[in-house]
Every structure is written in structure tokens, then in C-alpha cells.
């Protein structure tokens, strides 16, 4: 589904954000991507989504190159940034209609999907309200609803649990599991190791732009908790 092959990304000024990183996410995977602040998680995610250009390596989504065929790739995925800045000038429903139009979702399908996810995330009564009055969590929920509108094959989420209330976080975990059970995949970054340990079938750990562990959760973790493994790997050079 998602293949990141020897990705390297250097920012202007010479800072190497990601170095020779390779990850493969397959259909059905719920893939957790963890690392310290500034390790290169968001850079990797933004490169995979086609927001950030990268100088070497290749990223493909369902066989399509992000570099060569970005629009096709973007049709297959949905992306949720860590801090979703949405169009404040629009109401919630206007934003969802905008995203539906971009993905050419029919009126009937968008009504059904928006209605379902808005109900699940308790946003139904806020959709006619301007986004400018939303809290961070509400913006996060709205961005989540927009991510499911076109039924993507791959969800790429950057810190999706930040700002969500406990109920919404639980709902999201349930939605994520169901989504992957249908053969789709999710690649997400998180700092909440308990969540990653509990719901992910695969995990990758990144440190200073380099992958230091990657594989099935049980293999990465071994007999220890994910927290212990993470601290051990990230503390030692």
C-alpha cells in the first residue's frame, strides 16, 4: 500500500531530517510511527503525502509514485496533520462539502458518510457553525470526518489523538481498527506509546532521521513493554 524506499530529506541550511529511511505498509496494517520530538516523523509523513519534496529515495502508494503522479496518490489517501488548521471562514459543513467536491463524492454518499462520522464523533450539532469558533479538538474531529469522506485506502495521520477528549479518542481507535480490518491501512505517528502498543500490528521507531527499529509490534517489543524498548533505543547512541 505505502512503500517508502530509501527516503532522504535535507532542509535548506543542511539539516538532515530523514536519512535513508525505508518502510513498507501493507493492506490491513495499523502501523505506528514513533520517535522523539524532532526525530523526523512529520517530515516523513509530509513527504509521503506529497506536501514536502524530497531529494532522494522513492515513495509509492498502491504502486503510484508520489513524485511522478501526486494527484493519483492523493486520491487514494487521506491525511490528517498534527495541528489541523482549517478554513476559519467556512462552517464545518462547508468545509466537508469542499473536501467532498475535491474528491468528487456524490451528494448521497457524502450525506451518508458525513452523517455517520459526525454522529460518531458528536459533531452533528456543530456543522453549521463557523470553524473559527471551534476548539482544537473540534477541528481535529472535523478533519477526521473529512478524512473518511472519500473512503481512502490509506490513512496517514500525524498525532491523531492530540486534543481529542477520551470518548473521541476511544471512538477513533475503534474506527481505525475497523478501517484496517476492511483491508485498508493506516500509518500514523504518535507519542502515546500505550495506544501504539495496544492497537498497532506494526511499529517503526525513528531517531535523528534514521530508522532504528521496524517490524511487527511483538517482534519490536520482545518481552519488554514498548515504553522500555523505546527509551532503551532512543537513549543509547
Amino acid at each position: 500500500m505505502l512503500v517508502i524506499d530509501h527516503l532522504s530529506k535535507t532542509y535548506p541550511g543542511g539539516k538532515i531530517a530523514v536519512r535513508d529511511l525505508s518502510i513498507t505498509v501493507e493492506g490491513g496494517d495499523l502501523f505506528g510511527f514513533i520517535g522523539q520530538n524532532g526525530a523526523g516523523k512529520t517530515t516523513t509523513i509530509k513527504s509521503a503525502v506529497g506536501i514536502l519534496p524530497f531529494e532522494s529515495g522513492e515513495i509509492t502508494i498502491d504502486g503510484h509514485s508520489v513524485k511522478k503522479d501526486p494527484v493519483t496518490c492523493k486520491k487514494l489517501i487521506a491525511y490528517l496533520p498534527d495541528n489541523p488548521d482549517l478554513y476559519d471562514a467556512l462552517t464545518g459543513i462547508q468545509y466537508l462539502n469542499f473536501i467532498s467536491d475535491i474528491f468528487r463524492v456524490s451528494k448521497e454518499n457524502r450525506a451518508e458518510r458525513i452523517g455517520r462520522y459526525a454522529e460518531l464523533l458528536e459533531m452533528s450539532t456543530s456543522l453549521n457553525t463557523p470553524i473559527s469558533s471551534y476548539s482544537h479538538g473540534m477541528k481535529q474531529k472535523l478533519a477526521l470526518i473529512s478524512a473518511f469522506i472519500h473512503q481512502p485506502k490509506l490513512l496517514i495521520l500525524d498525532e491523531p489523538f492530540v486534543g481529542l477528549d477520551p470518548k473521541a479518542a476511544f471512538t477513533l481507535k475503534t474506527i481505525m481498527k475497523e478501517f484496517c480490518e476492511q483491508g485498508n491501512a493506516i500509518f500514523f505517528s504518535t507519542h502515546v506509546l500505550e495506544v501504539a502498543e495496544k492497537i498497532c500490528n506494526k511499529i517503526a521507531i525513528i531517531k535523528n532521521g534514521e530508522l532504528i527499529a521496524c517490524g511487527a509490534t511483538d517482534e519490536v517489543r520482545g518481552t519488554q513493554s514498548l515504553e522500555e524498548v523505546f527509551l532503551e533505543l532512543t537513549e543509547h547512541e
Binding site: 493519483t72 459543513i93 467536491d101
Partner: protein
Amino acid sequence: MSNFIILVKNNCLVFWGSLKTRKKGRYAASGVLMVFLLLFVGFSMGSQSVITTMALVEEGIPQLSIFMSLMSALTIGILFGLMRAANAAGSKDAELLLSLPVGRVTAVCSKVITQYIFDAPLMIMIFAPTVIAYYVLAGASTGELVRGLILTLLLPLIPIALSYLLGAILAYLQEKFKMTSIITTGILMMLVVGYMFVNFKSSSILAGVTDGGNASALGMIEKFAPLSWLTHFVLDGSVLPVIFSLLMLIVPFYLGVWLYAYAFGRPKNGYRSNSKVVAYAQRSPRKALLDKEVKRYLACSIYVFNTAFSPLMLIVIAAVLTVIGPEQLISSMKLPIEAQAMISRDFTWVIIAAGFCLFPAMTSTTASSISLEGKQLWILKAHPVRTEDIFWSKYMLNILLLVPVSVLSSIFIGVRVQMSPLEVVGFAAVLALLGILVSMLGLIVNLFFPRFDWDSETAVVKQSMSVLMSMLAGFTAACIPFILYFTLLQKFGFLGFCAAAIVIYGGLTAGSYFFLKTAGRKLFEAL
């Protein structure tokens, strides 16, 4: 150092920091530009005041210099207040300040004083030189000088009061009504247009009265009640004008600051709807993008302010010319009769066309439309949208705003001055093409000079390099056919001018379109 001083210093540092960009050169350039502007404005205002006072001393009516200078200072002050009103209620860092061990009064006062520090220099530069020149050149008393200087320091309270009062009203409306951004923009537009009208009227009255003699000029001061109080505050210091002046300056200021303090730190409650009934409208991606651009445009008062000026002026010019006719226009220029006789019909039309081309060339929504994506740029970049469609939606907004008005205005004027149908079509085509060209040029310039790290839309819409460069590019492009006409093509008449302009604007538009499709696309993708 007291908390108050620390907060004021911090407010100034935050402002200075907002000018900073990652590039050191631009940071230094901003500083140099600001100092240069301050010196330039200060020098020109000061010298203008001295010249005016000298002239009025010779006429025997030096008192009028105080009156006129007050009018200029208030004009600038009121405009400042109006332009700032939309963002005046509350403060972005209010919660942070209130969480610190700093009193609420201290925090609010620091904000008000900072605003005073920003407003005061320009108003002082307008009024203080007149007061000093009046004292030196007209032999005024020390009392007049002292009262003049006191008034100089009190004048900046007016824009602060106005922005806070109007800001509180707009914040109230935003809480109570849907579509508040449009309401806010509408109210501010009406106020600014009303203000321009009053300003124009008072200037013409002033010009008429000064032509009428000294007694009439001095008598006229009494006709402008609030201004006459302030003038008498300086000139004679009599009790009633002093009381009225202080009331006029201090009461609105106190009320405005009180309202500002009341809103400081309180959550801004936007309009909320609990309705579960939602409308699902299906459009093509292009239409959805354009719709988003329109909503974004209407939601930002300062954006509308800055860019609706051109179409508005086109309508005004068209209306004025339709009513008075070109003959009246030429006679109002007060040219010698021989010169008027030499002006041909076609020459007049080209002059009219120049007037019509000037405004569309000066402003464009596209000059800041990429920058205005700001932190939301990820939405366009992460979704399957073709860059061409993004560009299309952006320049189409400006085209929709400009071209229909331009075409209709040109048709009205063409018919009024009895152009032939072919000439009317040519004139309309010139204006339409220029509208399209300026829209594309603005977008290209913004791709070269994007700015995403803004806190206030004003920084992008009014103060960005892109807007400045776009204005320059639009103006230069618009001038080319006129230069050609006046140097080489006069013998071909108005139709010759139209043909040249169509070829030039058309060629530049085609070039711009091609640039956007190729290099422009790459520039956008690299953002």
C-alpha cells in the same frame, strides 16, 4: 523595572519581531525602510506645515493653519481607527498575560499605551510642526504654544477610542449574527466611503471659503463644530472650547478603553448554530475551489477593503463621466483654450482609457492569495487538486471582481461619448484583457514572494512585498500601450490604441498563462 514597562517593552519587541523573517537582509531592510519612511514623512509633513503657515501669515490669517493642520491630523487618525477596528476587540496574548502575575489593569494599560506609541508619531509629525511654526512665525503667545503641544499629545487618543468603540460593536455583532464577516466588511466599507465623502466635501468647502477672503475663512472655522473647539483650545484657551475639547477627547477614549478592558481575555464567542439540518451541495472541484476563494475573500474585511477599491472607483468614474461628460472633464482641468482646442476626440478617449486602466492595474486579489493560504496551505497540498485549478480559482476571483465592472463601465462611457460600436468593443476588450493580465501577474508575483508566517492578514494584504511588487508590475504593464500611443501611434487614433493595447495585453496574458502552467506550477509545488 515595573511590570508595566516590561509589558510595553515586550509589546514593542513582538511588533519588531513580526517584521523579522528568516533572512537577515530583509530584517535589516525592514528597519531601514521604517526609519526612512518615518524621516521622510516627518520631513515632508514638517516642511508642508511651515510652508502653509508662512503663506497664511502673509495672508493675515495664521489661525487657519492650526485649523487645517488639525483637520489633516484628524483625517489620518480617523482613518487609522476605522482600518483597525475589525481587529480591535480583545488581544491574542490576553490569556497568556492574564495567567502571569500581572494585574489586569496593567496588562490592558500596556496594550493601550503601546497603541498610543504606534499612533502618536504620525499625528505628532502632522500637528506639532504647525504649532511650532505658528508660535515662531505668527508671534503666538507661550500659552498658545503650550496648549498646542498638549493637544498634540492628546490627539492620538481619537484613533484609539474609535477603533476600540467600533471594535466592540463589531465583536457584539459577530456574536449575534451569522455572516458577520460580510456585515463587518459592509459596515466598514460604508464608514470609509462616508468618511471619504465627508472629507471630500470639507476640502471643497475649505477651498471655496479660502477663495472668499480672510473674514470668510476665519468664519468658516466656526462651521465645523468639533474642530472649532479644538482650534479655540489652542488659540484662545477659553473655558467652553477647552471643556468641550477635553470631553471630546477623553470621554470616548475612556469608554473605548473600558470596553476593551471588558473584552480583554474573555473568550470570543462566534456565532453558533445547533441546527442538525445540513446542506449537501455538489460542485465540480474547480467550482468548489472558487467558492472557497470567494468565502475566504468576503471573510477578510481588510482584503475586501484593499481590493474592492478598484472596481468601486471604476463605477464612480464611469458614473461621474456619464453625468458630466468628457467636455466638462477637460474644462475642469483648466487648460488654456488653445490647448483645449488642440485636444482631439481620440486623444480624450485615450486619456479616459488611461484613467480606467490605472485602477485595475493597482490592486489585485491574487497578489496576496497564495500568502493568505498561510497555515492552511496543507489542505491544498495534501488533496488531489491540480495546481492549474488552484491557480484558476485564484485569478478567477479577481477577474470576476474586476472584468464585468470594467466592461460595463467601458460600454457606458463608450455610448456616452458616442464611440462607434467597434470602438466600444475595443475599449471593453482592452479593459477586460488588462483585468485578466493583472490577475495573473499578481499570482505570479505572489509565487515569487510568498509569505506564510503571518499573524494578521493585514501583514499580507497591506504590507507584503508581493502586493507592492504586484502593484508595480501591473502598473508597468498597463502603461506600455499608453507610452506607445503617445510616442508613436497617435496618428492611428483610438482604434489604433485599442489594437495595440489588445495585442500587448493579450500577449502578456498569454505569456503569464504559459508561465503559470510551467514555472509557476513548479514554484507552487516547491512551497
